[in-house]
Symmetry: C2
Subunit: 261 residues, 2 copies
């Protein structure tokens, strides 16, 4: 038996998020975990459980989600990735597979994660980006100033209680998280990209962080308002939860995952 680390890319548009969801008396919802498990099962005739590092929500994308599963078949990583990908639907792909030590835990071993939130501002038709980017880019009718957003983003960095920037925190032991970096840039194509990295994120945290920075960028709030949100732990002071399609899990960092092979 060997544990494998998979790097998985997906277009989240037509997935009900990462995590397998059973529907009592019905077909399970289409999720990335569910599709991966059933594809691996049918490819190798084995029963598997695929554990993902990040439970991305419905509609959220990933360039490099990380997942682990155990498998007794002797095969090299490149062939494994190709064999699974060839049978996956075209909106998800295994872009790498490497053997890892048997205790590798994609959630617990994670050192940091990076997300990007992308939106287009000053969209004449209120809430839609262009037809060729609408699946990955959110839109706002307001024009924003990235420099104002960056001033607010800098205040997110550090170890804070992010209760005011999260959804459904009741089941969390702690709402303290550490943000390593948060930068805002206007990209060559005119979209605004918010890159945020940290040890972990609360539910909807990146999308609420993006909505809060947008409020600042359009002049609705001052950058220093971020301090008030963090101190108050009050969700109602933060900006809106931005739509899922603008969010992408970009990378997940692990300490050197000593190969077993």
């Amino acid at each position: 038996m060997r544990r494998w680390k998979l790097t998985v890319a997906y277009d989240g548009t037509h997935f009900h998020g990462w995590q397998r969801q059973e529907v009592p008396g019905g077909e399970p919802l289409r999720t990335v975990q569910g599709v991966l498990e059933s594809t691996i099962r049918s490819t190798f005739s084995i029963d598997v459980r695929v554990v993902g590092a990040s439970r991305t929500d419905s509609g959220v994308h990933a360039r490099a989600q990380v997942a682990a599963f155990d498998c007794g078949i002797e095969i090299d990583g490149e062939r494994l990735a190709r064999a699974i990908s060839a049978r996956l639907p075209d909106d998800v792909a295994v872009i790498a597979a490497e053997p890892v030590h048997e205790g590798f835990d994609p959630i617990g071993d994670c050192v940091s994660k990076g997300y990007r939130y992308t939106f287009r501002d000053a969209c004449p038709n209120a809430h839609r980006a262009g037809v060729f980017e609408r699946l990955w880019v959110a839109a706002t009718p307001h024009a924003v100033d990235p420099a104002r957003m960056q001033a607010a983003a800098g205040l997110m960095v550090g170890t804070h209680d992010f209760a005011g920037l999260a959804h459904s925190i009741e089941d969390r032991a702690t709402t303290v998280r550490t943000i390593h970096g948060c930068s805002v840039r206007r990209m060559p194509d005119g979209t605004i990209a918010i890159d945020v990295s940290g040890t972990g994120f609360l539910h909807n945290m990146v999308r609420i962080l993006a909505g809060t920075l947008l409020d600042v960028g359009r002049g609705h709030r001052e950058p220093g308002h971020v301090r008030t949100i963090l101190a108050s732990r009050d969700r109602s002071l933060a900006g809106p939860t931005m739509p899922a399609q603008g969010l992408c899990l970009e990378w997940i960092l692990y300490p050197k995952t000593g190969r077993q092979a």
Copy 2:
């Protein structure tokens, strides 16, 4: 009554092409023309026929298709484009509207058109591009040499009988067309882009031209083979018809369309 020239962008993935298609005893197929006509109808409570410059096939995209329709409502172009776009589904948008002289004919007045065909070569999983580009980029397992493709592309330029590079030509008065330019480049993202412009194109001509250049690029044919295809008028000597998703109508040029406003 005023004639309007619309510039229309669409993601062709979920359209059965441009042209309205009635289904006897059933719902009409979802086409760009059909969706535009029904949206304009419901927006302004008028009955319209929208005439497109190019009858793009099922799955083919457009950044700037041109269409014309007549309308008695007094409105300025920017408001007209916004009013229609706001009610269109999110995979099609009117990006500009301008009043034109009453004899403007989007098909007959066209001076030239530009298409781009985009594919990714050396794809490990045979026939699929990445999950974030699969809707607009075709894929091939073969590695190609763009310089070889360019040598073949240069032989396409000029006025030739393109019968060997077209599908279902029986109903055409002539299969002679003029290609103004045909260039092949590897783009910064690693994809191969074939840009071709000309007075007009036969059915499937750009997709067969792309398949023929791909055959040359992978070393399966010599660049000079293009001369043989053109001279023979024999479709069986040309390359495969490349898939629709790689094709995009980029622009259509008209002589100065004297404004009426």
